[in-house]
C-alpha cells in the first residue's frame, strides 16, 4: 500500500492544500505553525535586545507595544492554542482509535483555511491602517476601544482563528463518539485521545464566548454601541469577565493535549504500562471542568467583590489537584520501569520539570495577598512562559521527536537532538527564571525600558534568550536535515504499543487495510499479563 505522502493524484502543492486526508492536514498545520512560531521567537528576542539597549532605545516605545502584542497574539492564537491538537491530534487521533479519518474531513480542511485566513488578516492588520495593534494579546477595554491603531482588523483575524478552533473541536468530539474501532471502548482509548476529548469540549463551549466578546469590541469601535465604554454606562470589568471566561479555559486547551502526548511518551520509554489509567483520563475531564471556574483569578486586582475573590482563589487551588494527579501518575509510571532516555523521553521529562515550576508559580499567584504584589509584573510573564513554553512548547517538541519517524518515515540524528536540548534548557531557565526574580523585585510587564536596579537581571534574561533561540534553531535544523536526508524509519522505532505503531511509517493513505478489532487496554507492554 502506498503511503499518504505519495498518493493523492494531484501533484505538488494542490495535492496538499486541497487534500482532506487528516494526516496531510496535520502536516499543513505543522508547517504553518512552525513558521509562525519562529516569527514570534524573532520578535521575542528583539524585545530582549530592547532591554539591553536603553539609551537611546533601539525601538520606539510604540514599536515595543506592537512587538509584545504581535508576539503574544501569534504565540497564543496561532501556536499554542491550535497546538498539539491541530498537528498531532489531526494526524494521530483517527489512527489511535482505529478510524480512517475524522468524522467531517472537509470541515477539517475548512478549519485549516479559517486558520490561514485569520493569520493573514492579523498580519495585514500589522501593516495597514494607523499602526499595528498595541493592546497586548488581551485587548482590554477601554484602551482597545480608544486606541487609534488597527485593532478592528486584528480582532477580526483573531475571531477567524477562534472559528477554526471551534470547528476542530466539533470534529474531534464527533469522531471520538462515532468512529472508534470495534472493541475500542472508552476505557481502551489511548490517553492522548482522552486528552483531546476534554480539550475539544472546552474549545467548543468556551470559544464562542470570546468570539462574541471580540465582536462586541469591534462593534464598539465601529458603531459606538457602548456596552464596554464607561462613558456610556458600560462596564470594562464585564469585558474582563467574558474575556477570561474563555481565555482561562483556553490555557487548558493548550495544556491538556500536551499532557496527553507526555502520557504516551513516558510509558513507551519506561517500557511499562501507564500507572492509573482511569485517574489520568478522568483528571483530564476534571481539569476541563474545574478550569472553567477559575477565570476570576486574572482579575483579583480589578475590583471584584471579596466573596468572588475568595471563591475564585479556592477553585484555583482545587484545579491544581487534578493537575498534580497527573504528575504523580507520571512519576509512578516511571517507578520500577526500565527507563531509556532517548530524545523524546528527554524532552518529556523536561516538560514535567518545567511544567511543575510553572504550576507552582501559578499557585503562588492564586493566593490573594501574594497576587496583589505580583500582578502585572515580570513574575506573571515568567510564569506563563513556564507553563506555555516549558509546558506546551516543550511537549510539542517531545511529541514531534516521538512521532517524527512515523509521520515522515525518516529518522533524525538523535545526538543532535540531545545536543540541542542543552541550550534550550539552560537558555530557557536563565531567561524565564530571570523574569520570575525580576518580577518579584517589582519589574512591571509590558515596559519598553527599566530602572537601573533591574539591569543585571535583564542582562541575564537577554543572554538566556539568545542561548535559547540558538538551541531552537539547532533543534529544527536537525529535523529539516532529517526530512531531506534522514534514513528510512522502521514502523516501530521506539517499541510503542498504541495503534499508530502497528502500521507503516509513513502511514498508508487509508491508515488501515482492515479496521482492527481492539482486544484489550492500551499500554500492554506485557500481553501475557492479563488486564
Amino acid at each position: 500500500m502506498s503511503s499518504y505522502l505519495d498518493t493523492g493524484g494531484r501533484g505538488g502543492i494542490a495535492g496538499w492544500i486541497f487534500s482532506t486526508d487528516h494526516k496531510r492536514i496535520g502536516i499543513l498545520y505543522l508547517a504553518t505553525m512552525t513558521g509562525l512560531f519562529f516569527v514570534a521567537v524573532v520578535i521575542g528576542v528583539l524585545m530582549r535586545v530592547e532591554q539591553l539597549v536603553l539609551d537611546p532605545p533601539l525601538f520606539a516605545p510604540q514599536v515595543y507595544n506592537a512587538f509584545f502584542t504581535v508576539h503574544g497574539v501569534i504565540m497564543i492564537f496561532m501556536f499554542v492554542l491550535p497546538g498539539l491538537g491541530a498537528v498531532f491530534g489531526n494526524f494521530f487521533l483517527p489512527i489511535m482509535i482505529g478510524a480512517r479519518d475524522v468524522s467531517f474531513p472537509r470541515l477539517n480542511l475548512m478549519s485549516w483555511y479559517a486558520f490561514v485566513a485569520g493569520t493573514v488578516i492579523v498580519f495585514v492588520s500589522l501593516f495597514t491602517g494607523d499602526g499595528a495593534p498595541d493592546t497586548g494579546w488581551t485587548f482590554y477595554v477601554p484602551f482597545s476601544v480608544r486606541t487609534g491603531t488597527n485593532v478592528t482588523l486584528g480582532l477580526t483575524g483573531v475571531f477567524m482563528l477562534g472559528f477554526s478552533s471551534i470547528l476542530t473541536g466539533l470534529n474531534f468530539i464527533t469522531t471520538i463518539h462515532r468512529l472508534r474501532a470495534p472493541g475500542m471502548t472508552w476505557h481502551r482509548m489511548p490517553l492522548f485521545a482522552w486528552s483531546l476529548y476534554g480539550t475539544a469540549w472546552v474549545q467548543l463551549l468556551a470559544t464562542p464566548i470570546v468570539g462574541i466578546t471580540l465582536l462586541l469590541v469591534i462593534a464598539e469601535r465601529v458603531f459606538g454601541i457602548g456596552v464596554f465604554d464607561p462613558a456610556k454606562g458600560g462596564d470594562p470589568i464585564l469585558y474582563q469577565h467574558l474575556f477570561w471566561t474563555y481565555s482561562h479555559p483556553a490555557v487548558y486547551i493548550m495544556i491538556l493535549p500536551a499532557m496527553g502526548a507526555i502520557t504516551e511518551i513516558l510509558p513507551t520509554f519506561a517500557h511499562r504500562t501507564v500507572f492509573g489509567y482511569k485517574a489520568i483520563a478522568y483528571s483530564s475531564m476534571a481539569i476541563a471542568f474545574l478550569g472553567s471556574l477559575v477565570w476570576g483569578h486574572h482579575m483579583f486586582t480589578s475590583g471584584m467583590s471579596e466573596q468572588a475573590n475568595l471563591l475564585f482563589s479556592l477553585f484555583t487551588f482545587l484545579v491544581a489537584v487534578p493537575s498534580a494527579i497527573k504528575v504523580f501518575n507520571w512519576t509512578s509510571t516511571l517507578y520500577k520501569g526500565s527507563i531509556e532516555v532517548r530524545p523524546p523521553m528527554l524532552y518529556a521529562l523536561t516538560f514535567v520539570f518545567l511544567f511543575a515550576i510553572g504550576g507552582l508559580t501559578g499557585l503562588m499567584q492564586g493566593a490573594l495577598a501574594v497576587n496583589v504584589h505580583l500582578h502585572d509584573t515580570y513574575f506573571i510573564v515568567g510564569h506563563f512562559h513556564y507553563v506555555m513554553f516549558g509546558g506546551t512548547g516543550v511537549a510539542f517538541f517531545a511529541a514531534l521527536l516521538y512521532w517524527f519517524p512515523k509521520m515522515f518515515g525518516r529518522t533524525y540524528n538523535e545526538r543532535v537532538a540531545n545536543l540541542a536540548w542543552a541550550p534550550i534548557f539552560v537558555g530557557f531557565n536563565l531567561l524565564y527564571f530571570g523574569m520570575l526574580v525580576l518580577g518579584y523585585m517589582g519589574m512591571p510587564r509590558r515596559y519598553f525600558t527599566h530602572l537601573p536596579q533591574y539591569h543585571t537581571g535583564h542582562v541575564i534574561a537577554s543572554v538566556g534568550s539568545f542561548i535559547l533561540a540558538a538551541g531552537l534553531v539547532l533543534f529544527f535544523a536537525n529535523l529539516v536535515v532529517a526530512l531531506l536526508r534522514g534514513k528510512r524509519a522502521e514502523s516501530n522505532p521506539w517499541g510503542g504499543v498504541t495503534l499508530e505503531w502497528r502500521i507503516g511509517s509513513p502511514p498508508p493513505a487509508e491508515n488501515f487495510d482492515v479496521i482492527p478489532e481492539i482486544q484489550g487496554r492500551p499500554y500492554r507492554f506485557n500481553p501475557e499479563v492479563s488486564e
Binding site: 468512529l179 471502548t185 464585564l238
Partner: protein, 205 residues
C-alpha cells in the same frame, strides 16, 4: 460496547452528522449566551432605564415578527415530514414558504430599524447621548442582539435556499433527507433565540 462500525463503510454517517449539528447549535447558544449575560448584568444595574427605553420600541412589529418566525418553524417541520412521506411537491412548497417568511421577517426588521434610526435612537446618536446611560446601553444591546440574530436569519435563508436547490436536483430525497433535517434544526434555533429576544426588548416596558 459503544462502537460505530457502520461508520467505516464509506457511506455517510447520518447520526454523526446530526450529532455534529447539535454540537454546532451549542456553540451558537453560547455565542448568544455571552450577550444574554451582558443583558442580565446591565438590566440588574439599570432596571428603570431599561423599562423606559423598552417603551421606544415597536412591540407590534416585534410580535408580528414572532408570529412570522414561529409559522416558519412550522412550515419547516412540515417540509421535512412531507419529504419523508413522499410528498415531494408539498415539501418544496413548504420549504419555499419558510424562506419567504424568513425574508418577510427581514423586511419588517428593516422598517423597524429605519424607524428607530429616524427617531434618533441609534448608537452614538445625539438624542441618546442626552439620555441616561442605561438607555444608551439598552439600545447598544438591542442593536447588537437583534443585529446578530438578523445575520443568523440571513444565513438561515441562504442555507435553506441551498437545501431547496438540492431537493429540486434530487440530491435530497425522502430516503436521504438528513441534510434538510439538520438545516431545519438550525432554523428552529434561530427561531428559539428570537422567542427570548422578544420579551427582553419589546416587552421590557
Amino acid at each position: 460496547m459503544t462502537t460505530a462500525a457502520g461508520a467505516h463503510g464509506g457511506h455517510v454517517d447520518h447520526e454523526g452528522a446530526r450529532f455534529g449539528m447539535w454540537l454546532f447549535l451549542f456553540t451558537e447558544i453560547l455565542l448568544f449566551g455571552g450577550l444574554f449575560i451582558l443583558y442580565a448584568a446591565y438590566r440588574a444595574r439599570y432596571p428603570n432605564e431599561f423599562h423606559e427605553a423598552g417603551g421606544h420600541l415597536d412591540a407590534v412589529i416585534g410580535v408580528a415578527n414572532t408570529v412570522i418566525l414561529l409559522t416558519s418553524s412550522l412550515t419547516m417541520a412540515a417540509s421535512i415530514t412531507a419529504l419523508r412521506t413522499g410528498q415531494r411537491r408539498r415539501a418544496l412548497a413548504s420549504l419555499a414558504g419558510t424562506i419567504a417568511l424568513g425574508v418577510l421577517f427581514l423586511v419588517n426588521k428593516y422598517f423597524e430599524w429605519s424607524g428607530e434610526i429616524a427617531r434618533g435612537f441609534y448608537p452614538d446618536s445625539p438624542l441618546l447621548a442626552g439620555r441616561p446611560q442605561g438607555e444608551q446601553i439598552f439600545f447598544g444591546l438591542y442593536y447588537s442582539m437583534t443585529g446578530l440574530h438578523g445575520l443568523h436569519v440571513m444565513a438561515g435563508i441562504v442555507l435553506l435556499a441551498v437545501m431547496l436547490a438540492l431537493v429540486l436536483r434530487h440530491r435530497i430525497t425522502g430516503g436521504e433527507y438528513h441534510k434538510l433535517e439538520n438545516a431545519g434544526l438550525y432554523w428552529h434555533l434561530v427561531d428559539v433565540i428570537w422567542v427570548f429576544l422578544l420579551p427582553l426588548f419589546y416587552l421590557a416596558a
